[in-house]
Symmetry: C2
């Protein structure tokens, strides 16, 4: 979808949190990042090389990626002259903001004049097919969660990285805007039209080498009333061979749904397995990935041991412990 | 969305099958239909009054509904002068065709000039909210199927009609284009953006009187790889109190998926109940609705008796037998 190397645009981010997107991209794709661009008033710093637009162009940067989020997700007036300068230097621009690059006349004009592209990663750019449910070659692993935002993206990114470290073939398949900005392509699944959801997931996880693994970023949860349809389409479109069950044990209610409590990992497994087997009778739930960030090291290790015993499969916090055992669980 | 009385436009339909949509509207809403309009070469006939555009206008027709489908779902050149005449006579036009009314300049111009509306029912017109999962007053019944096109719409229409016949409060909630043309409103769910699917179903089934039933038209199937996400959103957005399990016993493979066989009604019940209970712990699968059109009367009755025994709930073909026992099963 868009090309590295990147210049990460931190703009006038008041603090590190506002530049979380840039941090995520740098954490997961350091080799794709040439440097950062910070305005004078910027309070964030990734600790990497500061480049002016001119220096970035000379360093061969292909895409300026907007890595800062402000209130309302808008493209602030103060950024525009810099973004125009980048387009005039021949760079593309990629953004996951709510406000679209394509709706800014001065950016559209500069992009056209310089034959550059504006990538709004929230908007699907492909005319996706309707899913056909056909068996595909290669292996696929999908993260499913007891709730939204429990660590599904982190889990699949960590597994993809570990797999590559071991010299094995794998690809991270992004299904949300952050994942797309990290990987440079993917499907913004929550913005796809209902009829084409499963088809879009088939589209991004095509036939592959028999020993190649796709690590598909999960979305939503089968237990989340607002987004369960998206999760369903991921399972039936992704046709996973392996599921990783993701959970955040300290959360009390479902994200955005204060009337709903989280299901247990057992309940998740019981619900998801018959659904997954509709499209792949050999699918297995191979491991649990637990987000223990709100627990002490002791609490976390005790909890992980308990889950492992109850579920009969490895339970790992890939942030604390790495993803080796998750990869091992794939067989 | 659009108003009765209707003039059903059969155009140049070569045969009854091409005018199936008009037949469906007349079957389910005869009180809304003022008459039919047939071009000279039309081979279909609903057996109701033929009206010219002028006569229809004089009879107070509010909406001309395109009830004919031709190859490619296009608006043929031959229809256009008639449609323009209808707009000039003050009628709105409603269509479920792939080709949109709004993309025909001569129709747009005539509609604007005469202050009339063009309703393309395949296109959502509402900015739907994200589902909130909150409990709503009133009762809801949803048809779920072992496959697509097994009689879910027929079942809910028949139940709504029977309920009204008994003097009880109910509403048919359309979720597809045919249902919308019949009811005059609803959500074209397969065209809604993923994030808003469940929210759109909540939107069309709002709080209601405690003794009012919504009969929600089902879509897809949890077992259909292409559309299961849409079905999921219907279950979690619709928050049903009662499910009707729909099945077509002679079908060998899933519609459009030749590699997949149909699940049994038991498998459907096992999968759907835990999903439905996420949003409504009191939800029950109250009856089976079986489409026995490809069976003889004897075969059908034997089969229905078997299903009833196996499933422990009433099994009915509402087309053969009426919907009384389905309504009874709601309690």
């Amino acid at each position: 979808m868009f090309e590295a190397p990147y210049l990460l645009f931190l703009g006038d981010a008041p603090d590190a949190l506002a530049a979380k997107m840039a941090q995520g991209i740098y954490d997961w794709r350091p080799e794709a990042v040439a440097g950062q661009f910070r305005m004078e008033e910027c309070g964030a710093d990734l600790g990497i090389k500061d480049l002016s637009i001119k220096e970035a162009a000379e360093a061969g940067v292909k895409t300026l990626v907007i890595g800062v989020v402000n209130r309302g997700g808008i493209i602030s007036e103060g950024w525009k002259s810099i973004l125009v300068e980048a387009l005039e230097a021949g760079m593309d621009i990629a953004s996951g903001l709510h406000t679209l690059l394509r709706d800014q006349p001065e950016l559209v004009e500069a992009a056209e004049k310089n034959d550059c592209s504006l990538h709004d990663v929230r908007i699907p750019t492909v005319k996706y097919p309707i899913a056909n449910g056909k068996n595909r070659s290669g292996k696929r692993c999908l993260a499913v969660g007891t709730d939204c935002s429990v660590g599904k993206m982190y889990t699949t990114l960590a597994m993809d990285r570990e797999m590559k470290k071991q010299g094995r073939k794998s690809t991270f398949r992004a299904t949300g805007q952050t994942g797309i900005l990290i990987e440079g392509n993917g499907v913004p699944l929550d913005a796809v039209i209902a009829d084409f959801m499963a088809g879009s997931v088939e589209y991004i996880t095509p036939d592959n080498d028999a020993d190649h693994w796709d690590f598909i970023e999960g979305q939503g949860s089968l237990f989340h009333a607002s987004y369960s349809g998206v999760t369903m389409a991921l399972i039936h479109g992704g046709q996973p061979d392996a599921l990783i069950l993701c959970h955040e044990p300290t959360r009390e209610t479902m994200r955005g749904l204060p009337d709903y409590t989280l299901p247990s990992l057992e309940e998740l497994r019981e619900m998801v397995m018959p659904i997954a087997k509709v499209v792949n009778p050999d699918c297995k739930a191979v491991a649990c990935s637990i987000n223990t960030q709100h627990m002490s090291e002791d609490e976390a290790l005790t909890y992980l041991a308990e889950v492992e015993k109850q579920m009969g499969i490895p339970a790992v916090d890939p942030f604390r412990q790495g993803a080796e055992r998750l990869i091992e669980a794939l067989g």
